[in-house]
Structure formats: structure tokens, C-alpha cells
Symmetry: D2
Subunit: 341 residues, 4 copies
């Protein structure tokens, strides 16, 4: 039995575990004020080529999205997202729980389009009743998207341009950012993201950490008194070291990129394998998630030997399934899969 | 330099770290559905002698308080706490953030009094305008309290009796429960708590874990669809294993109690030492936190050699400070402190 | 200058004003506990042929929607509405402000379709990840819709049937209910609505009152302690008499229906006039709102002599405008309009 | 049977009713954009001698408090009030419903003390853990207080001085402001209040209107996009004229002050009467509410002939009751009361 179910099925990268062990006995102050958190922030600023970035560590993706969005929006504002965006679908209403609406534009393989976004915003302000509506106060995008797809640098710049016209921040959800940065098909670097976006997060949970996401505010725009705002949302760890040490390690000697590179290499092998086996691709993504279509009976058969994710029904007799790679995916696992298919 | 600053300054108990290492490569399903979470829940139910308990793992104390309180209260209800209760003071308004008021009764060394609670509740329902007020919908207490003090079994039963009269649940915040259970001066056991309270949590973060708290609903009273409620609050970990494995270890071979016992033993040595040195006790607590009064100049001098917590100003020239012990406190550290005093 | 801008441009029906004058000096208890409120509730129950209905008076439409929806939903639930529904568009995010998501299905001239609703709900529960999503916890529809259209009795029953299958309440927003009930083209009566829906409101503000909406819970399902929930939302009037007296009058001698009938008669004359003048209908609604398309230059010209509502741009050179009738619309005003067109 | 139960038991002052009648047929735009609202705002600015004041009309007191407080506070802030303040006691948790805590200082006959406030604020910022606590972000006071008492101008200035030191706004709840302004014992004028406070409201509901409160932001500090914030809270009336016309009348020819003056005169007669009858005063207030102590059996007897408000139990055999006067209180009613006592 092997698992391609998701990129959060195994624990942390061994280097992270080692570092947690080594530092375990050191007494450190709580709530993210320790030296490892500070060091990790410094390394992230360097990796982003953004010395002015304000970095904050949170625990998980939904928590990060809700915290960032709700603390950056004004009360009369909502966040614009692709209709397939994680904040609109699979966060159990965490954004609305904070009192803000998710406004949607159509998603195209998970991506929102700068032109459509521009029309959406222009239409809003042309509506004579806009003061009775939810103001678009931020644009949210995920990169990679929920479908594993990526924006090009030009696409991100175009979206940022639209945001700039309306004076609203662009927020990039990088839950799987490492895989996006290391994709064979991307022209977007971490410094590009820091330059283009107003705020973004570097995902840890799904890129080799036990937990943890690093939020970067790049334009001197971190909400004032962010600590009590975070604590109020139940998102402040007493042992902040747990995330600080992990990110310190992830940004030492390029580990974060190395994890991304490895998973991408494994994903490319998966793609090659699926092509060899003439599998039907639902979406041939450039990142660590691959979506193929399986006939239902065959899917049931394979489930006995390999774990993968259920994505959606395609039709009565076919299902879209997801195969994800991570830091722990091995060539042996792919060979094992070759046998099964 | 030694640290008695708090019980969350070092990492996790070595046995926990070992277990995390051993299980690191195992692929496990996400969101708390793995076998370690299930096993940990089973062990907790056994330790509580409460086979019907519904157990859930959350990440930190404030998050747990806000999640439990806001999901168990009706919209028109608030939670009653001692005015010194953590939910009323040091959670940055996390309870109010969920839309609920904290109603207060006087704290006595951190404890609320059953008699005063009964009067408070009786007065509420005798007020002709009570429909214009916040209904008392739950009673919150911490055990140990924020001052390290403990309720007796009779006191807990009396409070539960008052709650029962009004049909409202009793919630016990056990952020430092291990130290309460192992105190030399307690008559309260974990099964007692499970029997007396409607919901409580067994603190992990401050009792030897990296993070994590185990909530137990003991009366078939876990809110329906608790998972989306937790996720909505940003409190659902993708790698739920992180907490499941830790609690599975904490409740294997009595580790949780062992950690408590060790810290209590160290705290008793601290007390003995303070008595020997004729230090002024602010409060001689029966648990792992000891509060003494230092003259300010002397406090500044000692701070250079030992870390302790600032508690509050006593008067212009004196300060109350806190010394806390934990799993990692050693006899050597106490001997070192002896030299300093 | 005459105004067809909306149905809330003039004050209250003269009979209501007269009644307010007559009762002005009577001392009455506050907060909706007076005899007029009670009498009005009794008359509404009778008009609905629903003696068990629990009736409550609120001040305006958005307030009513937010109060009803947020107090009837569980925390993990959202409300399903047509994408054009008022709660999804023109309430400034009032539903999300209460922490709940508006889930959308396509609107067809403002109406949602029972079949599409059934598919939406079935799909939700077939999604393996539904515990990570917002549960559909209520269905919201407006009748008349925002486009002046109406459901047939069969359509309402079909929607209620779908709701019944999933055990979720059907809520009807009757901001303009009087016009729907008196439409020449409806087969739906007030008792039908009380029987079919779980909760609905009879709009006053837009049907002849100064302010006020009457919510009816028809299935012994009014949320417990509704008074503090209402007060908490800032929706409880000290002088509750203001709304009670108005509804008491509206439901005396059929005034509410009479107001609806008059406005419908005037709207039908408008339709006839528009047909005579060969105006282009955007939508030939069966209620008191009529939507026609005007060439922009002509629209600007007419605006100098008659007030109407801007609805939306149709194309670069044409605009959809709305003409609304009310209790105060006169034949003279329509004749005046005839001159202008 | 006469009623001194409250100042909201009768309808509106006849001049207001007359004005509502006279304007009833005029078509006016909705949502507070009509000429009467504008005229009323202009008159209020003049009466306040504060031409830069931004004035907004809301419907009731709790709604106004919740809207003003929640839109002026930052997320990490709460509002400081006397423990007896209306926002802390009788608003069903409306402030907490918006996510903000009410922080309390002791009330002295309903008033907070500038010195105690200064200590409270100083202590907050001296606490090493203040980032884990709710920040004091505004000071709330009621004038008259819930006990009918009044601040002197010097007291208000002292409180404003403390607020200024910490850069937080001072908010005055003037639900019964007219009675405070016309008290025989006050030195505080409306222009004083506009000068001293950052925001306050002029109560209408309890001072002769059917409903309505006028909020004045005096320091160019009205929250941006206040309309959608108000609408989102369900507090925007479609027929905004209802409140605009009433306040336009209240501030024509000094009606608001005249109503206050009349009620004060009647209250002074009440006081004289109670003294003549040797009644025990609980509090001899300088405004329209008088509190006396009645032996319970006597209270029950009198309740049959005169309505008054229950305030609180004094002891087992005595009760504090409230007599309130208003625009509609007559000398005949007081003579009738004389007979009864």
C-alpha cells in the first residue's frame, strides 16, 4: 500500500525533526518572541529580497486566510476570489465567520482573470447602489491554485495592476507555494511574489512542516497590534518556537526549495507514468497535484493498493482523482504504482 | 542562567519527541481522522473512566476556550467566570470576538465561590428585566486557577450543583490540569472531573507537549457538526496527527501524570527553598506556580541570573513574581537558584 | 414632477396615520408588550389561517432578514438564495456580518428553481468533503422577487418539498408581499404561504407603513428567547407600539390587501400605457414594479419631469429603469406620465 | 390610573405628529437622503454650535450604541464604561455581539470618575502582558446616567482630558439628553457636549419622538462608508424621512429643549410631593427619573392605581421604584398621585 492521497499525510521533513530535537531543551520565551522566530523571519525576508517585510507565523491555512483577510479588510468590505477559491469553498465559512463576504469571479482551472476582475470592479463602482453592497476590499488568489495550476508573472502583475487602480491589496495564498516556485513551468520567483503582492503566505503544513504558515506583509501594511488580533482569533501559540524553528530550518540552505523541487520531480514522473499508461488527464498540472479520470470499477480496484484523493464525480461511471507528491514521495512508490496501473 | 519563567519555555517531553520521530514517515489521513488520534481518545476516555466521553484535539488554550464556549452557548447567553479568569483577562477578548459576553463573579485567589454563584444566578432570574440582559449560559472555571490554586472535590460538586439547578453546563479549563491532579493537596481525580463537569480540557501545551489540548465532552453533549465549527474557527490542523500522537504518548504508561508529579515535586522544593530563605510568599500555591514578593532592586539584580515571570506590582517598591516548574525543571536548577537567593 | 421611483417615497397610508394620531396619548408598555401589538398579531394569525403562528415585529427588511436567518441557522450553516436575492446583493453583507454565508443557486428572473435547488443539495451531501464546507441550512426566497416576479403555488410547494427532504426551513422574504398577494396573476394566498413556509415576513415599509415588518414563524419554531436575540441585534424598539399600531390597522378591514390591490391596479395601467407607447419591456412583471428600457438621451430628458428608479445599464446606449406604484399612486400621476412619454 | 412608568409610554409630541401628517404625501428619496434629514442635520449642527459635525439618524438606543462603538473601535479594542452603564447591563450583549468587550470601571450613582479612569488606563499600559488583553479604545458614558444623575462640565472635561492623553474617543450616550440639558442643576450645554465629546447622540425615542436618535461625530471622525456599515447592522431605514422629519421638528423653535424643560418641571413637582409625603429617596436625581423606596405591601397597593417602574429590591421588605416624567406628564397626573400617596 502506498499513498498519494495528499501532501500532508506524512510528518515533517527529517531535517526539521532533527532541528526540533536539537533545540528541545533550550528555554525560550513564548508567543513567538524567541530567537528562532526572529532568525526565521530574517531568513524569509532575505529569501524574498524584501528586507522591509513583516513576517508572522500562524498554524494552518484556513486560520491564516481568515486572520489576514479579516484584519486587513474594513467592516464594509469583502474579499474577491475565484469561485473555486479555497476561501469560498472548503473553509467551512471561516471568512464569513469573521463577518466578511467572499465576492466571486469565475475561476478558470482555479485562476481568476485580470480582465474579468477589472470588469467586476468597474461594474461595482458604476452601480448607483454600490453603497448598499459589499465593497471589494481585497483580491485573494491561490498559487498554486486548488487545481495545481499557476499564474505567470505577467498574469500576477496584471492582477496587481487592477488592484492598484482601486487601491486594494492583493493577497496570495501560498499553502503549496514551494511546489509553485519549483515547477518546471513557472517564471515566478519568491522575490517576484514579494514585490507584486501586498501580503502572501509561505505554506509550511503542506510543504514539509508539521504545521505552520509564514505570512509576509510586504508594504509596511501589517495591521496594527497584530498580536492581540491573532490571539483573539485563537491563533497565537504559547510555544511559538514550534513554528519558528521549523521555518528557520526550512529557510536554511534552501530546504524549502529543495522540498518543492523533489516533489515536482516526483510529480513529473507521475505525469510520465500516466502518459505511458494512457490515463485520461482531467488536468495536467505543473505542480505536485495531478488529476486523472478513472472508471469507477477500476478506481475501486486500485483503492485497495494505493491511496489517492477523491476529487469529484466526472459522470455516472467516471471519477476524477488526485495524486499528490511531497517531500516523502519516493521513486519506489512510483514504481509500485506503475505495477498497479 | 536558569529559567523558571513559565511551564512553556522548553520543548516537549523527550518521550513525545521520540514518538513523533518514530511515526514521522507513516502516511496517515488528515484532519484528526488518523489511528493515533483515535487511540489517544480511547486512552483519555479510559483515564477519565468515562467511556462515553467525546474527545477532540485543539491546538492552544485560548483557541480551546473560545471554541468550546462559543459552540456550546446559545446566542443570547454569556459565560460566567471569576473576574480573574483567563477568559476575562488575558485572551485579548477572544470570547467577545465570538459574540458572547463574559459575566463575572468575584475571584478569590482565582476561584469562584458556589454560594456567590448561586446568588448571582438567582438575582439574574429575579430581575424583572432579565430578557434585556445576557443570560448566564455556562460556568467557566480554571483548575488550577491562574493563581495556581485548586478547588476541592466538594467545591467542584457544589458549583456543579448550582449549574445543575439552572441547567447550564460547567466547563473546566485544565490548561495546567496535570499539575492540579498531582498536587500533594488535592482530592480531585481525573474521573472526578469527568463526572462533575460537562466539558473540560486536558492541557498539553503547558504540560509537556509542543502544543495541543484535549477537550472532553462528558455528557453526550458535543455540539453537532463540531468539525466544521472547529474549521470555521481556524482550529482544524491538516496534520492532526501532530496532536494525536502527542496525546497518545501522554496517556501511555501514565506519562501525563508523571510530568505533573515531577513538576509538583520540583515546585515543593522551590517552596521549601523560599521558606528557608524567608522569602515573602504572595500566595503559597499547591501547584507548579509559586508567587513571591521581591523588593524591586533585588528583583533587578536576580533577573540577571534567573528568569522568572513578572506577575504584578505589589507596591511602589515591591513586585510579585512567578516561578514555574515543568517537565524539564531539574534539581540542579533549584540548587543554582539557592545560590542566587 | 411625479414620482414612480419606488414604493417607499411617500409616508404611510392615511388610515395608519389616523390611527397613530388617535392612540398617541395612550400610555402603553414598551418593547412590543402592548395591547396593539397583541391585537395585530392576532389579526395576522387570522389572516394567515394559522392560529399557531408566532408573530414578531421588526423595523426594516435587511434587519428582518439578518435577524431571522442568523437566529434560525446553526453555526455551521449558511442560507441558500438565488444569486440575485436581496440578501446576496443589496444588504451590504448583513448576513455575512452575522457570521453566515449566503450560498447561491442561479436566479431566473429573480426566482430559484426547485429542481436546481434539489441538485445543489444532493451534490452537497455527495461531496466527500462536505464537513469542510458550509452546510445549506435554510432556503431563502423573495416573493415578489427583486424583479417583481412571483412563484406559483406549485413552485413554492416544490421548493418546500425539497427543503422538507433535507429538513431545512423555507424562509420567504415578503418585503412587497401585499403586491404579490393582489397580483392578477397569482394563485398564492396568505394562508398558502403560512402553510408552505416555515417562516416569512409580511412587509410593511414598502406596503403602506412608515416602517415595520411582521415576521411569522408558522411551525412552533420561533427561536427561544427571541427578545434578547432581537435586542442584541439592535432591533428592539422601546416604543414597540409604533409598529404594532400600524400592523393592527393594516390588518383591520383588509387594508393591507386594499393597498396591494390599488398599487396593482395602478401598475396594470402603467403596463397598458407602456404597451400603448410601444415601450420596450425589460420584464413585464405581475406586481407593482415595471421595468422598461429607455434610450439614454431620452431617459435623461424624462428624468426632468418624472422620477423613476435606475435599475441597470442594458448596453452602451440603453438603460433599464424601474417604475413602482404604491398606495399613494394616483390616476392623475399616470395621466401625467402619459403626457411625458 | 396614571402612568409614571417610563418616558416612552406615550406616543410622540403632538407637534411631531402634526409634522408627520403634513409631510405624509410628499414623495421623498429613501435611506436618509431626503431634504428633511438634511434640514434636521443643519439645525442640529447649529444647536450644537458645531458646523463641522457629521450627523446620522438611527432608530433606537441599543442600535446606536452598538453601531457607534463597533464602527469606531479597532478589532483589538473594547469600550470602557461604568459597570452600571447601559451597554454593560441592559442591552442583551449587543456590544459583545459585535465582537467587542465592555471593560468596566466602578460606577458611582451611574457615573464614572476621571481619576479612576486615569488609573485604569495607566495600569493597563503598565501591565507587561497588555498585548494579550483587550485594549481600552473608547470611553462610554451616559448623560443623564441610568440613575438620572449628571456630570458637571468640569467632570466631563476631566474625563475628556484623560481620553485625550490616551488618544481614545469619548462617547456620550444621550438617550435622555434633553432632560439633562434642561435640569435645574446642570452647567452643561449642548455646545459644551459637542466641544468636549468626540461623538454623542441626542436621544429622540425617550424625549418625545416615536423613535430615532441623532448621532453627532464632532471631530471629522465619522467612520468611512458609514452607510453600508449602518445597513449591514440592519439599522438603515428605507423611509429615513420618518426620523428626519421628527428631528427637524424637534430642532425647530427649540421643541427639544421645551420637552426637556416640561419634564424637568414635572419631575421637580414629583420631588416636592415626595418630600411633602416624607417618602424615602433612593436617589434624588436632577433629571426626569426619581427613585424612591416603598415598603412592599404599600407598593403592591399603589400599583393598582399608578404605574411606575420596578428598579431593584432594596431589602426583603422594601423595593426601589422609579417614577419618570415626559412630554406628556400633566399637573393633573401629579395631583392624582398626591391623592394616592
Amino acid at each position: 500500500m502506498v499513498s498519494f492521497e495528499s501532501d500532508y499525510t506524512t510528518g515533517a521533513h527529517p531535517a526539521i525533526m532533527k532541528r526540533l530535537m536539537e533545540t528541545n531543551l533550550e528555554p525560550l520565551p513564548g508567543y513567538g518572541t524567541d530567537a528562532y522566530c526572529e532568525s526565521a523571519k530574517e531568513k524569509i525576508r532575505a529569501a524574498c529580497a524584501c528586507p522591509e517585510a513583516e513576517v508572522w507565523f500562524l498554524t494552518g491555512g484556513t486560520q491564516t486566510n481568515a486572520t489576514v483577510i479579516s484584519t486587513m479588510l474594513s467592516g464594509y468590505e469583502g474579499v474577491v476570489a475565484a469561485d473555486t477559491g479555497h476561501v469560498n469553498t472548503h473553509e467551512a465559512g471561516a471568512i464569513e465567520y469573521t463577518g466578511h463576504k467572499v465576492l466571486t469571479v469565475p475561476g478558470h482551472d482555479g485562476k481568476l482573470d485580470a480582465g474579468e476582475l477589472a470588469v467586476f470592479l468597474a461594474d461595482f463602482y458604476q452601480d448607483g447602489n454600490y453603497e448598499h453592497m459589499v465593497f471589494p476590499g481585497m483580491v485573494y488568489l491561490s498559487h498554486p491554485t486548488e487545481y495545481g495550476t499557476l499564474y505567470t508573472k505577467a498574469e500576477l502583475e496584471a492582477i496587481a495592476g487592477v488592484c492598484g487602480t482601486y487601491g486594494i491589496p492583493l493577497y496570495l495564498d501560498g499553502a503549496r507555494l514551494g511546489y509553485g516556485l519549483m515547477s518546471y513551468e513557472t517564471d515566478v520567483t519568491l522575490p517576484d511574489i514579494a514585490k507584486i503582492c501586498d501580503v502572501f503566505y509561505i505554506g509550511g503544513t503542506k510543504v514539509g512542516a508539521l504545521c505552520g504558515e509564514a505570512v509576509a506583509f510586504t508594504k509596511n501594511n501589517m495591521p496594527r497590534h497584530f498580536l492581540p488580533l491573532v490571539k483573539q482569533r485563537g491563533a497565537l501559540l504559547a510555544k511559538g518556537r514550534l513554528i519558528g524553528i521549523q521555518f528557520d530550518e526550512l529557510f536554511t540552505d534552501g530546504l524549502y526549495m529543495e522540498i518543492g523541487r523533489h516533489a515536482i520531480e516526483m510529480a513529473e514522473r507521475l505525469k510520465t507514468l500516466f502518459h505511458e499508461k494512457d490515463e485520461e488527464f482531467y488536468l495536467e498540472s505543473p505542480t505536485n497535484q495531478q488529476f486523472i479520470v478513472l472508471e469507477n470499477a477500476r478506481m475501486e480496484e486500485q483503492k485497495k493498493q494505493v491511496a489517492f484523493g477523491f476529487w469529484e464525480k466526472k459522470d455516472e461511471s467516471h471519477t476524477v482523482v488526485r495524486f499528490a507528491t511531497s517531500w516523502s514521495t519516493t521513486e519506489e512508490e512510483i514504481e509500485y504504482l506503475r505495477e498497479i496501473l
